[in-house]
Every structure is written in structure tokens, then in C-alpha cells.
């Protein structure tokens, strides 16, 4: 098949439907390697959208390439946990072996090496993506072997299968991971009750959204069901982008039936016939397995027409994201599902009344949907007894960093941070814990009695541990760069603010800082929290604020002086003029400080 035929086949597969642009772009890129200008033109003609709109979407997402990205595209996960495991040194080594610089395609167009945001393998890093397939547990030996394989142009299919092995690392099971349900059991229980009673049951259970915000799932479904519309939709948010979070990966790997059944329950409750799973691009490798679970469920009568012989049709489709953290925000996710750049919408209206294709849409986290099965099968009253008064049920924590046993830990809500650290085998002495990822909260060692629950520390699940040898300033700096990279660019406070913060942190890191810079960081925190368009900008300075409050000496030891300092070497800034004029007199130099 030539390129035009390939593009035509992809377009055909998606009915020339522009709202499916994300999938069209991804499938085209998977076939052709990159998205050339003529490819973009062909796609825009094929779906009848202006070319600029198609290019706008393609350019927005990190995983779409408008320039050649080589036969091998190696992207190192750059979360702080990967850094702590030495990813930077390994990437450097790979680049040296391949004679190239990070972020620049090799001269022969063979290979491209760079970093990417957390790929969700924090319990088995350092991790990377090679042509968007996940590789775990990188070592020096693997780097050397990988360089050989790339130089010899060995196809990915012939690379050691072991490299692509992803472990679940489930360390502690509770009600959810030990659910004991068979496929269809929760659905049968729900059908026996009817949709309205199912919603009442979910409300009675006290189930709250597991993405971190904690909105009542029962209320969400009730509002969605009540909202008028031509069609209702269920969306499963599997865009697990918060660095340090990987519990959805495990649920989708080993509990996919439960997640899909939860989506079907939601469809039954809200009156939807279609469910969409938005799977983050980093988890592309899960797609085939998930599709086969869907196929099996269809053949078992658990999806499709007349599910379990009831008057209820429902099916599920998987959409892949393309490397944009902001799409974890539900309205940005919906924009992406519609083929647009993932920019959060202005709310209200909320998705429950005006979501996917402007229809009522219930967007739920993977874990929430799985938990809904438990409620449907075992009852709301039973579920409400688990956990604490305002946080019913259990929570999956993705534990990584300086612990003996990183992995997935399920606890009833209310567990103390200290308990988690003990179970995971915290190493050395604990200096800090980052709960719920960069946008969450940084805890210091004297806060370990605090509890994981909506009453105290709400979390989407990330739990990164830092021992006493770690530099908490570097932790915050890594997060600052993460947000600068992931800002969608829509609003000025976040687009500019995240860059200003990243530069201030770099200025401090290179020992050019002064107390004025610390004041400026606090100022940016207030500004971005108040003026940003969405949660990304609102919370982008959380780790800066927390570490400045709780780990201030880590910043202060980097200050050059108490007076203001420029961020750069003033004398070096005259170097080119000195070179070109041949001057070296006193006036041709500047002291950095007077």
C-alpha cells in the first residue's frame, strides 16, 4: 500500500469523521512514521476540516510528529522517580553510543532520543517508550544492547521481550482488588434493581470520584440521567497522566472486566448506549488486550445489543490520547475525544449536561468505575462501612521512590501515611512524601500521621517517597519543568507563569538566586492560583509553595547573596563582542556584582 492508500484506508475506517481526528492521526502516524505536510493536507480534505484546524490538533500533542522522528523514537520517562533511578545518565550514555544529542534527529534520520513526561512505570523505572511501546527497568547493559539493536536496525518485534514486560506489583489487596466478582455479576444485580435504584444505591454507598476531586458518583450519574439530550455518553478517564500515578495501568491490565463492567453500569444508570475509554497514549501497549476483553464481553452478552437479555444496548470504544497531561481534565479530555486540541472548556456548563458532542456525559475515573461494580453487587450500605465517614471505600495508592517494595497498595480510606511507608518498606529516613503527584501536596517527615482520605489528604493515587539523601529542591524543580511542558498555552497566567517559575528554579539551581527570587516564586503562586483558566495552572505552584514552606533551607543554601543577582554571568555576556573586537581592557569586562 502506498502512502495515499494508507491514508485513504485510515479515513475510511473512521468514516471520514473529523471528531475522530485523534485516532486518524495516530493510526496514520503508526503506518507512515510521521505526519508530513502532504499527509495533513490529505487528512484535512478527507474529513472536510480546514487544514489549519487539523494541523492545530496535530501540533498540540507531544506524540504527534510534524517533522520526521526517525525509524526509532526513544523517549525517556522523566519523572523525578526516573531521575532518582538514574535515567539522565542512562539517556546520556545512549546518546553517546549513538552519536547524537537529545532532542535532535540523528544525521542519518535513523533515531531520535529525548525525554517525555512520566510514563506511569514509576515502580519499575527507569522507563522509556520506544516507538510508543513501554520499556521498563532500564540498565547500563540494556542501554548498550539497545544502541546495538538500533544501529543494526533490528525491528522492534525482535527486541528482547523481557524489556517490554510490565509488572503489576500488587502489594496489598483490599475490597476492590479482592472483589471476587464474576463478569456480569454486578450488571445482573443492577438490572434486578433498575437504573434509578442503582443510582440510589451508588449515592447511599458514598462513592466519590477517584481522580482526586472526590465528587459524588451517584450525584454525577443522577444529574447526567436527568439532563435532556439526543444521546447520553459514558466516558472512562484512563488518561492517567499525574506523575507518580500508575494504579489505572494495573486495573486496565488485570481488572479490565471490572472497569468495563463499571462503564456498562454507568451507561445503564445514565441512559447511555455508548461508552468511550480515553486511554493515555503512554498505555498504547494495552490496547490490543483491552480490545480482546471487549470482544469476549460482547460474545458473552455483556456488551452490545440486549445485554443479559435486558432491553439495554451498550458498547464501548477505546480512544487513545497522544501525550498531553492536560487531557486528564475532563473537559479537555472531551475536546480531545472530539478531535480538537485538549484545552479545558469554560465550566459551567459541566459535562453532565453538555459534554461529548455537547450531549450529557458522565466522565469517571477508571478506579471509580471499578468500585461502582462492588457497590452494585454488594450494596451501598456494605460499601459505606468501608473507609471513613466522608470517604467511603478503599483507595489504590501507587507507591514509588525510596521504598523497598514499590507498587500498588489498596487500603480503606483513612490509612496514615506512616502505615503506607511501613508496609512499603521506606528506606533510610523519610524526608518527604509527595501525595497525589506534582499538583498534590508535599509532606515533610513530621506529618506522617496525616491520613489518606478526603477529610485530610485527598489523592488520585500517587505516593512518591523521598529519603534523607534526596534534594527536595530538585524534586520541586522537576515538577516545575513538568508543568511548563504540559501547560496547554490557552491562558496567559499558566502559559507564561509556568515558564517564569521554571526559569526562576533554574536560576536558583545554578546558584544565581537571591531572596527576591523566592519572593517572586510566592508571588507567582498567588497569581497562578487565582488567575489560571483550569486546575493545571491553579495547582502548578503547589510543590513550590509546599517545599518553600517545609524545606526552605534547600532553597536558601543555593542563594548567592542577599542582594539581587542576575540569572546569567554578565562578564560572559560580553564574550562575543570581546572576541570580535579583540579588546581585553578593563572596560571590556563587567564584574558580576559591583
Amino acid at each position: 500500500m502506498n502512502e495515499q492508500e494508507t491514508i485513504a484506508a485510515v479515513l475510511e475506517r473512521h468514516n471520514h469523521d473529523g471528531t475522530r481526528l485523534m485516532q486518524i492521526l495516530r493510526e496514520t502516524q503508526e503506518a507512515l512514521g510521521w505526519l508530513a505536510p502532504e499527509t495533513i493536507t490529505a487528512i484535512s480534505k478527507g474529513i472536510g476540516w480546514p487544514r489549519a484546524k487539523v494541523e492545530g490538533t496535530a501540533a498540540f500533542y507531544s506524540f504527534f510528529h510534524l517533522r520526521p522522528r526517525g525509524k526509532y523514537c526513544v523517549l525517556w520517562s522523566d519523572n523525578i522517580t526516573d531521575r532518582m533511578l538514574g535515567n539522565r545518565e542512562l539517556m546520556q550514555r545512549l546518546c553517546e553510543k549513538l552519536w547524537l544529542e537529545p532532542g535532535r534527529l540523528s544525521e542519518d534520520g535513523l533515531v531520535f532520543v529525548n525525554t517525555t513526561s512520566c510514563t506511569g512505570m514509576c515502580d519499575q523505572g527507569p522507563a522509556l517508550l520506544v516507538n510508543y511501546r513501554a520499556v521498563t527497568r532500564m540498565t547500563i547493559d540494556r542501554v548498550d544492547e539497545m544502541a546495538e539493536l538500533i544501529r543494526n536496525q533490528v525491528p522492534l518485534a525482535e527486541w528482547p521481550a523481557e524489556w517490554f514486560r510490565v509488572e503489576d506489583n500488587i502489594r496489598r489487596k483490599d475490597a476492590l482488588l479482592d472483589h471476587g466478582l464474576v463478569p456480569g455479576e454486578a450488571l445482573a444485580a443492577a438490572f434486578a434493581r433498575g437504573p434509578q435504584a442503582l443510582i440510589e444505591e451508588i449515592k447511599a454507598s458514598g462513592l466519590r470520584g477517584r481522580g482526586g476531586a472526590g465528587f459524588s458518583t451517584g450525584l454525577k450519574w443522577e444529574y447526567c440521567r436527568a439532563a435532556p439530550g439526543e444521546a447520553h455518553y459514558v466516558v472512562c478517564n484512563a488518561d492517567e497522566g499525574e506523575p507518580g500515578t500508575f494504579k489505572d495501568r494495573v486495573l486496565l491490565t488485570s481488572y479490565a472486566d471490572l472497569v468495563f463492567e463499571g462503564m456498562t453500569l454507568a451507561g445503564y444508570a445514565v441512559g447511555a448506549q455508548k461508552g468511550l475509554m480515553y486511554l493515555r497514549g503512554e498505555y498504547r501497549y494495552l490496547k490490543e488486550a483491552l480490545e480482546s476483553v471487549l470482544a469476549r464481553r460482547r460474545s458473552e452478552g455483556l456488551l452490545g445489543r440486549r445485554i443479559l437479555d435486558q432491553d439495554f444496548d451498550f458498547d464501548i470504544e477505546i480512544h487513545l490520547g497522544a501525550g498531553a497531561y492536560v487531557c486528564g481534565e475532563e473537559s479537555a479530555l472531551i475536546e480531545s475525544l472530539e478531535g480538537k486540541p485538549g484545552r479545558p472548556r469554560i465550566r459551567p456548563p459541566f459535562p453532565v449536561t453538555c459534554g461529548y458532542l455537547n450531549q450529557p456525559t458522565a466522565v469517571n475515573n477508571v478506579e471509580t468505575l471499578a468500585a461502582a461494580c462492588l457497590v452494585a453487587a454488594k450494596g451501598g450500605a456494605w460499601y459505606a462501612k468501608l473507609g471513613t465517614a466522608k470517604s467511603a471505600g478503599t483507595k489504590l495508592l501507587s507507591v514509588s521512590g525510596d521504598v523497598e517494595r514499590p507498587g500498588i497498595y489498596e487500603y480503606p480510606f483513612g490509612v496514615s501515611v506512616r502505615q503506607v511507608l511501613e508496609d512499603a518498606g521506606a528506606k533510610n529516613c523519610v524526608q518527604g512524601v509527595q501525595v497525589s503527584g506534582p499538583s498534590g501536596v508535599t509532606l515533610s517527615a513530621n506529618e506522617l500521621e496525616r491520613r489518606i482520605c478526603f477529610e485530610d489528604i485527598p489523592t488520585a493515587g500517587a505516593f512518591m517517597v523521598f529519603d534523607c539523601t534526596r534534594d527536595m529542591f530538585e524534586v520541586a524543580r522537576n515538577f516545575a519543568h513538568f508543568f511548563a511542558h504540559e501547560s496547554c498555552g490557552f491562558c496567559t497566567p499558566c502559559r507564561v507563569g509556568t515558564q517564569v517559575v521554571a526559569r526562576l528554579m533554574d536560576k536558583l539551581a545554578t546558584n544565581h538566586g537571591s531572596p527576591y527570587d523566592i519572593d517572586e516564586l510566592f508571588k507567582m503562586h498567588r497569581l497562578m492560583q487565582g488567575a489560571s483558566h483550569c486546575g493545571l495552572g491553579n495547582s502548578a505552584c503547589n510543590p513550590i509553595f509546599d517545599t518553600l514552606t517545609k524545606f526552605r533551607p534547600a532553597y536558601e543554601k543555593r542563594l548567592k547573596s542577599l542582594d539581587y543577582e542576575p540569572a546569567f554571568d554578565l562578564d560572559a555576556a560580553l564574550s562575543q563582542a570581546r572576541q570580535m573586537t579583540g579588546r581585553d581592557d578593563a572596560a571590556a569586562h563587567l564584574l558580576n556584582v559591583e
Binding site: Y516, F568, L570, A573, L574, S575, R583, A588, L590
Partner: protein
């Protein structure tokens, strides 16, 4: 009753076009009212060459060469409050357009390879001339700046509002109408 002490004010233009100073004069007859409240130290209006202790320092233009650095430092050392006035001081502005080019290439093209120059022309190297910096910087990247007055140039009304706020002890606030980018 003793006469209220006037605030001492210094102004200068670094890598700017003096447009902000021209705009300053656009406060027109209000200049007379202003002079009831302030007196000038170093400024293009007085032709005083060096700045003494002042209450306010107003800087137009970014930092493009070594002399700009010295002048800026003199202001910072002598002024209790330092104001960046106009787009060049705030962001680098038009002179910073050269930042995406290599300074060596610019000097070479301008003084050596450009066809219309006299034979034997070379890059000036007289010690009297300040050397250009590799890049043009907004002034807050070189010294601590207390207030920013945006605009290209800020209008006379904006400058008037900003200064009267500051002199009266209010945090300057331009607000709608005075803060715009056309």
C-alpha cells in the same frame, strides 16, 4: 508649617528610543503640578550626568551593552524605588529582536561583509565604546526592579496615573483603558 519635602526623581534611557520620555512630556501642563511634588536629579531634562541619592528612578529601555549595565547599577544604588518604564525596559522590546541572531554574525555583517562599507572597514574596537552584550536583557534580569509600567510607549495619562499613585503612596494601578497593547 514646613514645606512638604519634594521627591527626588531620576530618569534615563538605556537601549530605548526616548519614545517613553517623549510620552512622559505628553502629561503636558500637568508637568507643572508634578513639579510641585518632585524635583529632578539625573535626567535628559536636566542634563545632570550622574545620579545622586533619589526617591524614584525611572528607566526606559533594556540592557544591550556594558554602559547600560553601569548606568542601571548607578540608578539601583541611588534610587529607593526603581521603575521599568515601557516595553523595552519591561521585556527587552524592539532591541531584543536581535536576540535570535548571533552577535558575532551581526557585527560581521554590519561592519565587514556588508557591501557599501569603505574598504578596510572593521568592527570598531575603541575602548571609549561600550561593548554590546551577547543578548539584550530586560532590566529586571540585571537588577531588582520594584515596579513595571508597560506600554510602547505608555501614554502620558498612564505615566501620570502611575506617578501620582506612587507619589501618593498607593500601589500603582493602571486599570482598564490605560493598560492596552495597541
Amino acid at each position: 508649617m514646613s514645606e512638604k519635602k519634594k521627591l527626588r526623581v531620576a530618569t534615563t534611557s538605556l537601549a530605548g528610543c526616548f519614545g517613553c520620555h517623549m510620552s512622559f512630556l505628553d502629561i503636558d501642563e500637568r508637568l507643572i503640578d508634578l513639579l510641585e511634588l518632585i524635583e529632578f536629579d539625573r535626567t535628559p531634562l536636566t542634563d545632570i550626568k550622574h545620579c545622586g541619592p533619589c526617591d524614584l528612578g525611572i528607566i526606559e529601555g533594556g540592557v544591550c551593552n556594558a554602559e547600560n549595565v553601569h548606568v542601571l547599577r548607578e540608578f539601583r544604588k541611588n534610587c529607593k524605588v526603581l521603575i521599568a518604564m515601557g516595553a523595552c525596559a519591561v521585556n527587552g522590546g524592539l532591541p531584543a529582536q536581535r536576540n535570535h541572531l548571533d552577535l558575532r554574525d551581526i557585527l560581521e555583517v554590519v561592519y565587514e561583509t556588508e557591501g557599501s562599507l569603505a574598504k578596510g572597514a572593521h568592527i570598531p574596537n575603541d575602548p571609549e565604546l561600550p561593548l554590546p552584550l551577547n543578548k539584550v536583557h530586560p532590566i529586571h534580569e540585571v537588577v531588582k526592579v520594584d515596579y513595571f509600567l508597560p506600554g510602547c510607549p505608555p501614554s502620558g495619562d498612564a505615566i501620570w496615573k502611575f506617578l501620582t499613585d506612587l507619589i501618593a503612596g498607593r500601589t500603582p494601578h493602571l486599570g482598564h483603558g490605560l493598560l492596552h497593547y495597541d
